[in-house]
Symmetry: C2
Subunit: 390 residues, 2 copies
């Protein structure tokens, strides 16, 4: 399948991104889900006989991934490149440590595994017989400022201009031009599980700056529908696995991009999860009624929204007897509560004022605020408890 230097046409590649290896779903381990999604990607690539696999950043979920995550991603890349002999065209994303991810990359090129982690590498395209692939890793404006030695570059929309201009000086007019990148494209729709994004002009790349490319394979946003404009041939592949409740309704999958057509065309190939992530809104009674919801896979990850308004003692434990993988639990018109353990949330919670915590909790459960009298009782009880502790 490695055919780059043999003169035959490179027409079809698979576009994926945002694997986030090592990520957890509200405390739940996703290793098995991610491994299974990977195997489906591999199978799609084999079935479609693609000529290469594009991974548009965020291979890892964090800069210093756990050993288990390192072992998992190493195994995936080895499988695709060394065993299946697919060329790989990859970049680092904002979740990756560019430095750590670059480990071994100078050795990878011999087997057509291209992994760019520095801006400077983006201007030397991978030359395929009919296509030039520009692999632009995730970047911050200051890196572009330094690279071009231009203090006037302050924001992403400014940074992309000289980048594209420099790429164009390397354009071979006889070939198609594909950009692989990891950023927020203006006009995209976001979900909860991408890192907090500055939506708007300064923190986004205007899609208008991408019109010189025949296809832009994007990573960063987790939904394939994040960008649906027909004005530019750019798409997010989305993540292969659902990483938050806000992604519950997304169809995960990969794009198969055909560069031989005029213009370049792409079709979607879905990925089916082992355990889906879904929202379930119902009353407590219905949820535990054996006659109800029989069609569900109870091992799925559920975000449950209760329509009840009365307090229900021990609600989570009771629900978990039927739905072991409850990810969030909330009340209709109330806010969602994350129910699984999360280190930071726990810590944040411990730093909150106990009275605030109580008031929030009561309001969420009872759907009405504490009365003045209740507040007084609670405040007195707390005072007494504090004094006893001393």
């Amino acid at each position: 399948m490695i055919s780059t230097n043999e003169g035959d046409q490179i027409v079809k590649f698979l576009h994926t991104a945002d694997w986030h290896i090592g990520r957890r779903l509200h405390g739940f381990d996703l290793t098995e889900e991610q491994q299974n999604a990977f195997q489906q990607i591999e199978q799609i690539a084999l079935d479609e006989q693609v000529d290469g696999i594009v991974i548009a950043g965020d291979l890892y979920d964090r800069g210093a991934p756990a050993e288990t995550a390192v072992a998992q991603l190493n195994g995936m890349l080895e499988q695709l490149n060394l065993k299946d002999h697919f060329p790989i065209y990859a970049i680092s994303g904002n979740h990756d440590s560019a430095t750590r991810l670059a480990t071994g990359s100078p050795w990878f090129k011999d087997t057509q595994f291209y992994l760019n982690t520095k801006i400077a590498q983006a201007f030397e395209p991978v030359e395929l017989p009919d296509t030039q692939l520009f692999l632009l890793p995730y970047f911050e404006p200051f890196e572009v400022q330094q690279y071009f030695d231009d203090d006037s570059i302050q924001h992403l929309d400014q940074a992309i201009v000289p980048i594209v201009a420099k790429m164009k000086t390397h354009f071979d007019p006889a070939k198609k031009h594909v950009l692989v990148a990891h950023f927020f494209a203006a006009g995209s729709a976001t979900t909860d599980s991408e890192t907090r994004l500055t939506v708007g002009g300064l923190g986004a790349i205007p899609t208008g700056s991408l019109t010189d490319f025949d296809y832009v394979a994007l990573g960063h946003l987790h939904g394939r529908d994040a960008l649906t404009t027909d004005a530019v041939p750019a798409r997010y592949s989305g993540s292969p696995v659902k990483f938050s409740m806000s992604e519950a309704n997304q169809q995960k999958g990969v794009w198969i991009v055909d560069t031989a057509t005029e213009p370049v065309s792409w079709t979607f190939r879905p990925i089916t999860p082992i355990r889906d992530v879904q929202q379930l809104t119902a009353s407590f009674e219905d949820l535990l009624d054996p006659e109800q919801f029989q069609e569900l896979n109870f091992d799925d990850f559920f975000g449950i929204v209760l329509t009840d308004t009365q307090p229900i003692p021990n609600v989570l434990a009771q629900l978990r007897e039927r739905y072991p993988n409850i990810v969030t639990l909330g009340r209709q018109d109330g806010f969602q509560t994350q129910v699984a353990y999360q280190g930071e949330s726990g810590q944040q919670m411990r730093q909150m004022n106990p009275m605030t915590l109580l008031a929030d909790f009561y309001e969420q459960v009872a759907q009405e605020p504490l009365t003045k009298q209740q507040q007084q009782w609670a405040s007195d009880a707390l005072k007494q408890a504090n004094e006893e502790e001393k």
Copy 2:
């Protein structure tokens, strides 16, 4: 220089180990020292025209090294293997995360960079025309227990027996046999900067179990003289840089091993530090006397032992005007004090009883314990300070 498969003789290799990239010396950055030592190793390899470089474990100082350490080691390995075209024969040590260090290793073999991190890999030797190289990574007894499915393997001295036996089934009698390993060989001398070692039978490899090899290139202990027996052809190269005061008197360097001689022979090539690590024992007055110690490189890392017995106010600040890189400061017959910042030590110190801390400090400085009266004064002052703080 890559000549393994071309049939010519592979006769000479450079043996180094324990680079500990990312290590600090009592809080002082060693990046520059380590980079310089690396360049000397590279130059020795070029001068000697060695046919390969053995790195016997502990490439990193810790399992999850900092990004700067990752960038530094990646650059070194790229330089030796991809730019200078030296074959590399390396193993993971106890300081390395085998999993993290293995990143990229399946791609390395194409350029004769062999990096073993799992026991199973140790039994497939690198076949050179006249030598078999067995690369045995650092291991714990339980891994050997699992590998051989033998519960009776409880200790290192037991674990080494089936390992060597299995290697011998792969011996080509027409070739020399070299073992690269990372462990404590019985009879070796230790220094402070290796991780705490169990000296003695159970936690050590008996040198008698290594007699089947023509040379054993060891890592783990930081002094080249840690093992000096002539009974077995085994040597520690030692670390290229001094990593603790206990290594002050060691001559750092590498072995050049010649497998063409009968028996295999090895010669030492020294490495000269930019800033040496040395012990200095003198009186405070002499240390600051411009007429004294003029031959010293004052930028060296000094462990200073004062012969004075009287308290000296502000002693460290005064000494640092002449010796900016004081690593430890102590009194003759007193214990050494680490003077640079060290996270753990600082934390431990903060958890100590202030009276204990004071008593220790006074005794160290004044060479006599606090009197009952002094203890009472200190205790009263502390009590008052605590109350004021409240």
